[in-house]
């Protein structure tokens, strides 16, 4: 894969998206340059906006892995939203179990519980595909709705914290087990976890026999079968790893951001993660950077809406537009002569 080509084509996709969005806001009577300036202001211009960008980027890195890792094996999984929610609920339950435990033990236990729940959730969809032939895209999307419904059931009944009047939520995890901010910058530890997990999975997918086998399977399932690769096991492991990453995102949303499970977990990190995965062309290392860029879009959304009086759905429209253009840009790969090795060099 020619990474210069990928960067150039992605950059072009961003520029086209911003140009289209600029044309639209121009028809509303705003100066597009002002809009771009506010996008910059809200995402990367000041320390406080960079912190907000990185806080948004942390869960995006992990939910992007939920699509990217199974995609390397040839599956189109879009269950990041559900896996995040399931992971968040499991984290709260685990937090109840380990109340009073030492900080590191408690947090490790809660994070593992979140990851395990998310992993099993997506592995279930992988198993349905391998053993029953159920399309994984549809099943994971349905599992999103099911996860959200189950969470609402739990936080309005069995797990409801009746003391909190203003917001319907689950019990809170013990204060002693709340995860704080990183040193130097005011962003929670989920960012560090996201970067580390992305790098580990980059090594696993690019530098191990297992990763090579997965790429063979994703590239040509029949060849993988002929080579005697354990296809079912590889698909299940990929789904589990992806789901575990999204579950971990849910764990950090609970331990570091909210302290409980509530509707605040259902804010579209899973769907934005799909976009990050496609932008990165399913490369876990590239996910780190693209999640930060998309985190910037999410961070500046609020400012953009207030400054220009745009509806809340503005960020979603921008994301959907970018997604569409990025997919269309797939057609451009290998077409641009600049990026092709000259004939005399390959001959």
């Amino acid at each position: 894969m020619n990474s210069v080509e990928a960067v150039a084509i992605n950059a072009a996709a961003f520029v086209i998206t911003l140009a289209l969005f600029g044309i639209y806001v121009a028809t509303l009577g705003h100066n597009p340059l002002d809009v771009y300036y506010v996008l910059w202001l809200g995402s990367f211009a000041r320390q406080i906006s960079i912190e907000s960008t990185l806080t948004n980027a942390a869960p995006l890195m992990l939910t992007a892995l939920c699509t990217a890792i199974p995609a390397r094996a040839g599956l189109l999984v879009i269950g990041g939203e559900g896996a995040l929610v399931v992971g968040g609920v499991a984290t709260v339950l685990a937090g109840m179990l380990v109340a009073g435990a030492p900080f590191l033990v408690g947090v490790t236990f809660m994070s593992l519980a979140g990851a395990l729940a998310g992993g099993l959730w997506i592995a279930f969809a992988g198993a349905l595909r391998q053993y029953r032939g159920v399309n994984e895209t549809i099943s994971t999307l349905l599992l999103n709705y099911i996860a959200i419904a189950v969470m609402y059931h739990l936080i309005t009944g069995p797990m409801r914290d009746w003391e909190r009047v203003l917001k319907t939520s689950s019990w809170s995890i013990p204060d002693a087990l709340r995860v704080g901010a990183l040193p130097v910058i005011d962003v929670h530890w989920g960012l560090a976890a996201g970067i580390v997990v992305c790098l580990i999975l980059y090594v696993v997918m690019r530098r191990t026999t297992f990763g090579f086998g997965v790429d063979v399977l994703g590239g040509n399932p029949r060849a993988a079968q002929m080579a005697g690769l354990p296809i079912n096991r590889m698909v299940l492991i990929c789904c589990f790893m992806g789901g575990a990453a999204a579950g971990l995102a849910g764990a950090f949303e609970v331990t570091a951001v909210h302290g409980f499970a509530s509707e605040s977990l259902v804010v579209g990190f899973g769907y934005a993660g799909i976009l990050v995965a496609f932008l990165s062309r399913q490369n876990p290392a590239a996910i780190i950077f693209l999640a930060i860029i998309l985190g910037g879009v999410a961070a500046s959304g609020g400012l953009l809406q207030r400054r220009f009086d745009l509806p809340d759905a503005t960020t979603q429209v921008l994301q959907g537009l970018l997604f569409m253009i990025v997919l269309a840009s797939n057609a451009a790969y290998g077409r641009l002569n600049v990026f092709q090795p000259a004939a005399w060099r390959t001959a």
């Binding site: 349905l128 509806p311 429209v317 997604f323 997919l327 797939n330």
Partner: protein
């Protein structure tokens, strides 16, 4: 309140009435998706098309006072949005399922974005047909208040089933969807047929959306559709790409969706969210039941990637 007097009969009547009332969007979206998939492409973005249709239909009815014009505009908006899907998918090396996800995000986002000013004003509703005149029971009467769109959808299902088998364009559509090589050898323009199939499917899904905003529940807000468009896509697999079976399956799904509200009106309020999730569980169960790990499904178009 009145449901409690009738007890479980009340729940049953409410579920049947609800099935008729709720099934129409499923029916239109699944018929549209059947057309699209028969041409060899999957449009997973019909959820976004449905919401966009609901918004544009409602907005038209608010602005002009003509609900039927709203239905037409909703169909055109759906066709336009699906045209985006159709054109992007016509580019080389573009995955139709991924484009569907993008359309899902983009369509719902755009509908909320453009539809924000229309959340408060109220639009004229589509008229009812009273088919319950023969009964004294107000429950049966209200259960049999039927929208003309439902009957139109039923007629459309019969027509499509006939037309796919017995007309020239039905045969062309199925050939393109079953084997693009064969269609190419016969000299048909595959891309054009698929664009037509996707746009026609989008028109029907848009009409289904206008039913949501102009008849039942008959309002426009951001929580209007909760995955009906997506479930309808799964329903097409269950119905084996057969328009008439789409009709039966839509009734089944409508009944499942109506279960939660019916139980609530009968006084069962516990586990409301779980009953609300019944259609998702049903869809998943139906997929597990109707899928097959080994062979392609009976009736599946050969070029459709979702069944392979």
């Amino acid at each position: 309140m009145e449901g409690t007097e009738l007890g479980w009969w009340g729940v049953l009547i409410a579920v049947i009435g609800g099935a008729i009332r709720v099934s129409t969007p499923y029916l239109f979206v699944s018929l549209g998706e059947t057309l699209t998939e028969k041409s060899g492409r999957v449009n997973l973005g019909l959820e976004g098309v449905l919401v966009m249709g609901a918004m544009s239909g409602y907005a038209t009815a608010v602005l002009t006072g003509q609900p039927w014009l709203g239905v037409l505009v909703a169909g055109c908006a759906g066709a336009l949005l699906s045209l985006v899907h159709a054109l992007v998918c016509s580019l080389p090396r573009v995955n139709d399922i991924a484009v569907g996800i993008a359309l899902f995000i983009f369509g719902t986002g755009l509908a909320f974005f453009l539809g924000k000013p229309f959340i408060n004003p109220s639009a004229p509703r589509l008229p009812d047909l009273d088919l319950g005149w023969w009964s004294d029971s107000p429950h049966i009467q209200s259960a049999l208040q039927i929208s003309p769109l439902f009957l139109f959808g039923f007629a459309l299902a019969l027509f499509l089933a006939w037309a796919l088998k017995n007309t020239r364009w039905g045969l062309v559509l199925r050939t393109v969807g079953d084997s693009s090589e064969a269609a190419q050898a016969l000299g048909y323009n595959i891309t054009l047929v698929r664009i037509a199939g996707t746009v026609a499917g989008g028109f029907l899904a848009g009409v289904g959306g206008s039913y949501l905003s102009l008849y039942f529940p008959g309002t426009w807000n951001e929580g209007l559709s909760s995955g009906q468009g997506l479930m309808a896509v799964a329903l097409v697999i269950f119905a084996r790409w057969d328009p008439v079976r789409c009709f039966y399956a839509s009734l089944l799904f409508g009944g499942a969706t109506a279960l939660g509200p019916a139980l609530q009106s009968a006084g069962v309020t516990a586990n409301y969210y779980l009953y609300g999730a019944a259609p998702y569980f049903l869809t998943l169960a139906v997929l597990i039941y109707s899928a097959s790990p080994r062979k392609a499904l009976e009736g599946a178009p050969g070029e459709v990637s979702i069944s392979r």
